[in-house]
Symmetry: C2
Subunit: 217 residues, 2 copies
DNA sequence: TGTATACTTGTTGTGTACAAGAGGTATTGT
DNA sequence: ACAATACCTCTTGTACACAACAAGTATACA
């Protein structure tokens, strides 16, 4: 992986884990010094992140991590649900043993946590689950879009996670990964898509409940 | 629109109209001189085009316009068809009079051609039709993806257009735009999506016929 | 005291020189 | 004649200096 690429992944991870919460100013100079390169490769990374909707760049003013308004959030989730249906319909990829192993490793690590309260740790593991799921999407364009949309919404979930029922959220993820592993062992990508669709749908419901009550009271 | 932005649109248009056919080398220096800027903004544009899959950049070797292999073509068309269904289902946008007027202008211009053989002219008009259609997609993320996928496939159609039945292709586009205008006048975005879906599906059939015969004989 | 204005500071955008790398060509040795 | 090698030229990547611009701050004036 090129240096540029790893810088991109690092910054994207920081945004998704709220190390750079919405509104954070990302100075090119500061980042350049931290990563030990000049502004040039940093600028390339930031422009890509802008294209993907994670930061906004304004000349003279600076670069800021974007927030996610409710309208956008609903749009992206609606689209992600539909894309999950497509994941099952369009040319499902073959399942390699690598993916299953990574998933089982993840499942083990999560169970080892034993439900201990650690939002960032859980988010980190879920990011890995996302990465391990991507190869299951056979359609390359669909895979790219799914990846892009994922990073526009995880941080919202992580943001409200402290106000949700931790035990429920934790168990849901354990269940999701466990069910996905079962489906993978039977080479059933279609069912993987259905499982993820169901869980995302449930999560959306919980988010709606919370956001609704947060607005009204 | 910023200078960078217009350069991006210009190069993308050239790729879609086959002024830069697949395999063309795009030198940063040459482009910089043509547009009267330094390599810096050109590089930003080329990297965006690479991200969108229209060029490949390799250090030391150069930047080349990508080709579209059959697998990728089928994937993208399959996805585009699905996204069209979503266009109808997900938050259809309101229809402004501007869009209808642009569409009617387009329809007029095409009819004025009177079926005269002009593949590039037709492609140019179809690009405008695409641009005029975009605002009808209410979901911002879906709009972005649709735009991106469109430019990965138009040039394939334009490439084989000389080998297809010109009168059929011409008439199909006239019909499509005409039908879309009718639907727009009745504020029926859902029907617009259905019309475009039907026409894309038909086009895909004609492409398959041609590509099949081109392979076998 | 309030307000308009100039300025100071910090940011991103651009231009340019140089480094790193790829690929073809000439050259040289056998 | 042929093959290996050095090199020559072109490409993209990086670093850095400077321009363009935004925003807050101090200052001068009414």
């Amino acid at each position: 992986m090129s240096a540029s690429e790893s810088i991109y992944h690092e910054i994207r991870e920081r945004i998704s884990l709220l190390h750079y919460p919405p509104g954070t100013a990302l100075g090119e100079k500061v980042l350049a010094e931290e990563f030990g390169v000049s502004r040039t490769p940093i600028r390339r990374v930031l422009h890509r992140l802008e294209f993907e909707g994670l930061v906004t760049i304004s000349r003279g003013a600076g670069t800021m991590v974007t927030g996610v308004d409710l309208k956008r959030l609903k749009e992206v989730y609606a689209l992600r649900l539909k894309l999950l249906e497509l994941m099952g319909e369009l040319a499902p990829a073959r399942i390699g043993s690598t993916e299953i192993e990574e998933m089982e490793a993840l499942h083990g690590e999560i169970v080892d946590l034993g439900g201990a309260y650690d939002p960032e740790g859980l988010a980190r593991l879920y990011n890995r689950f996302h990465r391990a799921s991507l190869p299951l999407i056979g359609n390359a364009a669909l895979r790219q879009f799914s990846d892009q949309l994922y990073y526009q919404t995880v941080r919202v979930w992580l943001q409200v996670l402290p106000d949700l029922n931790w035990d429920v959220e934790f168990q849901m993820i354990v269940d999701e990964i466990g069910a996905v592993i079962e489906a993978l062992k039977e080479n059933d990508v279609q069912r993987v898509a259905e499982i993820r669709h169901k869980h995302m749908s449930l999560l959306l419901g919980r988010l709606n409940d919370y956001l609704g009550s947060a607005i009204s009271g």
